[in-house]
């Protein structure tokens, strides 16, 4: 059993970390001619370049996180009421609305974006931050609505009913009864949206152009130019960001209940 377990874990690690190994090597390689198994000479040139403010990578990282955060917060705020209605109530035409909400997932986001591009030009939204945030909301919102509405269905309305008969108004119920129980769903949905936004290239470049240089946009020219060590460092950054985000969100969630308990006791 233990041997089996170890084998499975090793296999998973191999599959996950395997592709990253050559990237790590490339990121510190100076010369790595074919068919050598390992680089011939090493250098920290690529890392230094990427971490240098002037290269645009660090700023790109900042843009990526800012856009992703904005997209996530907006998606969360807009999705909460929609998800609540879809998750808790039965009404005529509900399935139609559900399909409408999921529609952006059924069609490649690029197709929708091509159509929207025209409209965005009319509205003056191209080459703006708002435009990039808006276009990224198109393919990410369905994930958020879907996750949250399942969350609402799971927690139901009974605790809210209980809170109401005890005299609590809507705001108090939302803050102290519903949202704490929805935390898991909110974190799950936010992770989806945040990661999708972080990794987006196509929509950002289409709508944002040069005005919004997120990390993928900064990175792409180096990949296209065939600078392997630089591309490797950039890709590693791009791969580590989601990992760091997920870990941060998960630990935040783990601390959530004890934090809340402390706040309640103080208040």
């Amino acid at each position: 059993m233990n041997k089996m377990g170890a084998a499975v874990v090793s296999l998973i690690l191999l599959v996950l970390a395997g592709p990253l190994l050559p990237l790590m090597l490339w990121s510190v390689a100076n010369r790595w001619p074919w068919p050598r198994l390992l680089p011939e000479t090493y250098s920290s040139r690529s890392w230094e370049f990427v971490l240098d403010r002037d290269s645009g990578f660090v700023i790109g990282l900042g843009w990526s996180f800012a856009i992703a955060a904005a997209v996530t917060v907006i998606a969360l705020l807009v999705s909460l009421p929609i998800a609540r209605v879809l998750g808790l109530y039965r009404f005529r035409g509900k399935s139609v609305i559900e399909v409408l909400v999921l529609l952006p997932l059924l069609m490649p986001a690029f197709v929708a974006a091509m159509g929207l591009h025209e409209t965005f030009i009319h509205w003056g939204l191209t080459d703006t931050v708002s435009g990039v945030i808006l276009i990224q909301l198109v393919p990410t919102m369905p994930y958020m609505v879907r996750t949250l509405s399942t969350g609402f269905t799971l927690i139901g309305t009974r605790l809210e009913d209980q809170a109401r008969t005890l005299g609590a108004g809507s705001l108090r119920i939302a803050m102290s009864v519903t949202l704490p129980r929805l935390a898991h769903a909110m974190v799950a949905g936010s992770t989806f949206v945040f990661l999708a936004s972080l990794g987006d290239y196509l929509l950002t470049v289409l709508v944002g152009g040069d005005a919004v240089p997120t990390l993928p946009l900064v990175l792409f020219p180096y990949i296209a130019a065939g600078d392997r060590p630089l591309a490797a460092v950039g890709s590693l950054l791009l791969a580590l960001c989601p990992l760091a985000t997920v870990l941060a969100l998960e630990s935040a969630l783990a601390n959530f209940s004890s934090m809340r308990a402390n706040q309640e006791a103080k208040g």
């Binding site: 109401r164 008969t165 102290s176 704490p180």
Partner: protein
């Protein structure tokens, strides 16, 4: 203490009545138990009083004032549910203080009231624990305390003890009655358990299929049921057909004798349950059942011929089924 009147309350979904127009009054300080099988509409009735369900017709009057349009959170009528519904992220003390916070009761008074009610439910040292650390009976006591701490004029209890075992149920009943003596509230309690209804109620309203069949004191309902449904729902009943209509005689009112007057019967079954024994007989009016103290029925065995009789005042004519 306040008076609650239900005036012609009805509820229908898609033209289908789940609750036919009902008119009932709960007097100040009174415990009214609404008793009925599951699906009879009793929980809907409670939801309407609480403000969680909108009635299709009629209105709820609170001390003569209509509650129509008043949302649940402003009615000041707390409800206790069958499955305690404690807030999982809050401690026991925070759970109990929840309604007080919503009412803006200052911190010091809040703490005093929570401590007092925690002591009253014998969980004084449990304030800082979380609901998941409590047993089912303890959680239900906290749910009760969370409502009582508000010193409400009226409380609603929806099958409050159904998820507890019989020992705990008895304890909870005693607790509710003790709390009422101390805090003096009226209550509407919904249950499907006739035992619970008879022990708790000042008055019982028996419901079937969205209608109130009979309202009365526990003795009234038990000894003078209006129809066969009420008679059978509240306990074992002998329903005997006669020329002037169906008669109901409770088995414990049936007297057995080896000689004398009465219906001739022979015993076909004897069910012993410790202090009491039930004797089932075959007679010309059908099966009859008698329940009495075990020691009095010693010597009566299956096959014994007996005479079954009852006093005139123990037999009640039923109107309908």
């Amino acid at each position: 203490m306040s008076q609650i009147q239900l005036s012609g309350i009805a509820k229908s979904y898609n033209e289908q009545f789940v609750l036919h127009p009902i008119t009932l009054t709960v007097e100040p300080g009174e415990i009214l138990v609404v008793l009925g099988p599951s699906g009879c509409g009793k929980s809907t009735l409670l939801g309407i009083v609480a403000g969680l369900v909108e009635p299709s017709r009629g209105q709820v009057l609170f001390n003569g004032r209509s509650l129509a349009g008043v949302p649940a959170e402003r009615r000041g009528i707390p409800m206790v549910f069958q499955d305690h519904l404690l807030f999982p992220g809050m401690t026991i003390a925070e759970n109990i203080a929840f309604g007080l916070r919503a009412r803006g009761v200052p911190r010091a008074e809040r703490d005093d009231r929570v401590a007092a009610v925690l002591a009253a439910i014998q969980l004084a040292s449990f304030g800082s624990r979380y609901p998941s650390e409590l047993s089912g009976g303890q959680k239900q006591r906290v749910a009760l305390a969370r409502a009582i701490v508000l010193r409400p004029p009226l409380m609603l209890l929806d099958e409050p003890f159904s998820s507890l075992d019989s020992m705990l149920r008895r304890e909870m009943r005693d607790l509710v009655l003790a709390m009422r003596r101390e805090y003096g509230f009226s209550a509407i309690i919904v249950t499907h358990d006739p035992q619970e209804a008879l022990e708790l109620a000042d008055r019982v309203a028996v419901m079937r299929a969205g209608r109130v069949e009979q309202v009365g004191t526990p003795e009234d309902i038990y000894f003078r049921p209006c129809n066969a449904f009420v008679a059978r729902f509240l306990g074992p009943a002998n329903i005997i057909a006669s020329e002037s209509g169906d008669l109901c005689v409770r088995p414990e009112a049936v007297q057995l004798a080896l000689t004398g007057e009465g219906v001739t019967a022979h015993i076909v079954e004897k069910r012993f349950s410790g202090p009491r024994v039930e004797i089932v007989m075959e007679t010309k009016v059908g099966h009859l059942s008698a329940i009495g103290p075990a020691h009095a029925y010693r010597g009566l065995e299956i096959g014994t011929h007996v005479y079954a009789s009852w006093r005139e005042q123990d037999a009640v004519f039923l109107r309908g089924t």
